[in-house]
Amino acid sequence: PVTAGSIVVPYGHVIGNEKWRGSELAQRLQGKVRLIFEDALGLVDFHLSNRTCILLISEADLVAGDEFKRRLVRFRNASSLRGIVIVEKTQISDQYYLGVQKLVVLELGMVSLPVANQGEASQLIIQLVSFCVREQSRDRGANPFLGKQRAQLAEAAVLQAVQRIPGVGKTKALLLLQRFGSIHRLCNAAIHELEQAVGQTAAQQIYTF
């Protein structure tokens, strides 16, 4: 059964699929995160938050054939949750990784992360959980990769741009900008107006540019 609908995950908890109870992975997670087991999670192995969940693909899944692909596609079709696919990439399953990555990332638009074993998977999940928690608490500054919208003064940039016009250095650029104000007005200036600001030769150069 496909259960991919929304599940309410209590703040700071992880909901795990019943089938992981007692596994090495679950044992390593316990104590680090608050883990709750639930039946009927369907395709999903772990829910990290209301909108992020994890699907695990083991070495055995990879070797066994294409069943895991059907599972991923079914998940993608049924759910709008952000799916993170953790793939057990070992010496044996290494050869399959490229194909899996192509399917997961390029075709399904989900995230694919390789781990070497269940121990590494637990470590990774702990980190993912901590970022999910931060996201929920709106502590966006904590993520070093989220773009910050910085209002930058355009003055320096405008001056730089005007200096890219052939024959215009810093002095002429300043003269031009003081007279015309913006690049838009500079572009629409008549040649005699330019001549008044910077002289005949330069005015001709700017005008033809």
């Binding site: 470590q123 980190q127 970022f131 003055e155 405008v158 741009a161 300043l174 690049i183």
Partner: protein, 249 residues
């Protein structure tokens, strides 16, 4: 004076799926040293048109909206690189709609027995942060594989009708105009090329409306608004960040 319309736009917006003879990727000139096999594989094995230029921002530009950075696994392992990487990616987010990071396994140097990759907690933290920031991550085991991934990305973007389809080597006067566009903050190299190609002159760009800019440069709406604002920004000498150096230095 209204701009001269968008004469070349019909050429850009081809039907997706129609296979273009050569997909185009822009590569940063530093990649000649750091990823020579990526470049030669792209050209020789995959038959892509690779234009090396000084991008400065990202390692590769694969489409009008997608930038790709190639990082070595070891760089993600040590906290020393953190601020450099995050600054770089934050900057990219201001310029591109989509960002992808290809994590490449370090090459084993001759004479060195293959090092065991020790996965650190820090490494997992970086991956989690990237995932949460919506940055795509791909893993590659060597430069050849990186090239194959770049090709896949370029193909995918081509199918979504975002491929770079303008001449990438402007000459003479066009070169000067390109340099002018490149000085506009948060404008990508690809968008600058599109501006060169779609508009007859800088004046035409300066007089264009936001939708015309978005269509001509193939920018998103907010990016086109930013460009529009920049071109009409009223210069105020008082607001220049540092005082001008004294005359005659």
């Amino acid at each position: 004076i209204p701009g001269p319309g968008l004469p070349s736009l019909a050429g850009i917006s081809r039907v997706p799926g129609e296979h273009s003879p050569s997909l185009c990727i822009l590569a940063d000139s530093r990649e000649i040293c750091s990823g020579p096999e990526v470049l030669s594989c792209l050209r020789a094995v995959h038959g892509l048109r690779v234009q090396v230029c000084s991008l400065g921002t990202s390692d590769y530009i694969v489409s009008n909206r997608l930038a790709v950075d190639r990082v070595l696994q070891s760089e993600l392992q040590s906290p020393g690189n953190r601020s450099k990487l995050s600054q770089r990616l934050q900057r990219l987010q201001g310029i591109f709609e989509r960002i992808c990071v290809i994590v490449e396994t370090d090459r084993v140097k001759p004479g060195e027995t293959s090092r065991c990759f020790q996965r650190t907690q820090y490494y997992d933290g970086v991956l989690s942060a990237l995932v949460q920031a919506g940055i795509r991550i791909l893993f590659s085991s060597c430069q050849e594989e990186t090239a194959a991934l770049l090709k896949e990305l370029a193909l995918l973007e081509h199918r979504k009708n975002a491929a770079i389809q303008v001449p990438t080597e402007p000459e003479g006067h066009q070169r000067d105009i390109l340099n002018f566009y490149l000085s506009v903050p948060n404008l990508s190299y690809g968008a600058a090329l599109n501006l060169c190609h779609s508009f007859g002159s800088i004046t035409a760009v300066a007089n264009s409306s936001v939708p015309a800019l978005a269509a001509g440069a193939r920018l998103s709406r907010p990016q086109a608004e930013e460009l529009h604002r920049f071109l009409r920004h009223d210069f105020d000498l008082q607001l220049l960040p540092q005082p001008l150096p004294a005359k005659g230095k």
